[in-house]
Amino acid sequence: MKKNIIIILSVIAVIFSIVLGINYYNYSKYNEELNYEKDKLEEIKNKVNEINNNFDSSTSNYEKLKNDNQEKMEEYEKWLKRNNEVKELLS
């Protein structure tokens, strides 16, 4: 009777060990994936920072140019509006 119990327990132990092995394998894989995703995230964060810096410098450059050429910009916008009005007459 006790012998049977030992056999059953051994089989259970072997099965659970296999499951443990599989779980460990999955865990390692997840860990690797996590590290990869973290690196990727860091990369995209750097990209966002870079584009934010570019955006800020482009915006300030644009604002400066816009202020320096305000009159011309207003003239351009007026002609744009006039042109759109004629386009509407054509449509």
Partner: protein, 311 residues
């Protein structure tokens, strides 16, 4: 018997040991599963963050492209204004063509003012500004360093006032000397045209190639065709008019100007002759603009390619 007992004890120990091992394995399994679940959640969070950042990156990229395009427009602002003006006039030409081919029921009116600038032209500009209407000024140059109607003012300044608002600067000869030899020869006429073209260019930076004969083309008499040939050879187009307030002659009242104006409006494309020195015309100008708009006319400044400009 003692041996049997000992064996039984060993088996019991083995059972305990196996049980403990199994429990340990189960515990490890649970711990690993929990950790794996945590990592999976963390990866999910990173994926979400990643998606948000990608969206932000895309939006920023779009904004950056937009800003870059706007910046390019400003850097090349003069070219862009020239380009959009070219497109604007090209679209009006297309509209004219459609109207003339009866493919469109739209109407066009070109307000034109001869003989200026005068000091009174400032008032004309105010009315045009108020109605956001562009017109055409057929300017002359003789003695304009002093305004005829305000000796303390310099009328040269008005050329630029008119041009910078977007009105078409056109040529009515420098002297306008109908009775001072303007039509004595085609060469004399073209000299006066060139002199005025230079004056307009010096005052505004604009080179004009639209001419109106002082008194109208019929006033050129026997030289009309020769002058037209010379104008064409020099790259000028010329235009008379299809409607008028009659303010070039003697007008008795604003009512008379109004009647002249209303009675002469009968085409789908009108070139309306007025003079920006006339008080009666100035008085009825707002009413004229409203009348034209109410009757379906769109008001534009003249341009060389227009069908109304003879070439």
């Amino acid at each position: 018997m003692a041996k049997k007992k000992q064996r039984s004890k060993r088996i019991t120990f083995l059972i305990y040991l196996l049980s403990i091992i199994i429990v340990c394995i189960i515990v490890f399994n649970i711990i690993l599963s929990l950790k794996a679940e945590n990592i999976a959640n963390e990866i999910n969070i990173i994926h979400n963050e990643y998606a948000e950042l990608e969206k932000e990156l895309e939006n920023k990229n779009n904004d950056l492209t937009e800003i870059d395009e706007q910046t390019k427009i400003i850097i090349n602002i003069d070219d862009n204004i020239a380009e959009i003006k070219k497109e604007y006039f090209s679209n009006i030409k297309t509209l004219e063509d459609k109207i003339l081919a009866s493919e469109s029921d739209k109407k066009i009116a070109y307000l034109t003012f001869d003989d200026g600038p005068y000091y009174l032209s400032y008032k004309y500009l105010e009315v045009l500004d108020k109605y956001d209407v562009l017109a055409t000024f057929f300017t002359i140059g003789n003695n304009k360093e002093v305004c005829y109607d305000n000796k303390s003012a310099n009328c040269y300044l008005l050329y630029n006032e008119e041009a910078k608002r977007g009105h078409t600067m056109a040529n009515h000869t420098f002297s306008h000397g109908i009775f001072r030899g303007l039509y004595s020869s085609p060469t004399n006429f073209i000299e006066q045209v060139k002199k005025q073209e230079e004056l307009i260019r010096n005052q505004t930076g604009v080179t004009t190639n639209i001419v109106r004969f002082p008194g109208g083309s019929a006033t050129a008499g026997k030289y009309k065709n020769a002058i037209i040939e010379l104008l064409r050879a020099n790259g000028y187009g010329w235009v008379d008019w299809t409607a008028a307030t009659g303010d070039g002659g003697s007008l008795a009242s604003a009512d008379q100007a109004w009647n002249n104006f209303v009675n002469s409006i009968d085409s789908n494309i009108e070139v309306i002759l007025m003079h920006d020195y006339n008080h009666y015309t100035l008085e009825i100008l707002p009413k004229e603009i409203e009348y034209l708009k109410e009757n379906g006319y769109s008001l534009f400044p003249l341009f060389y390619e227009s069908n109304m400009v003879n070439k």
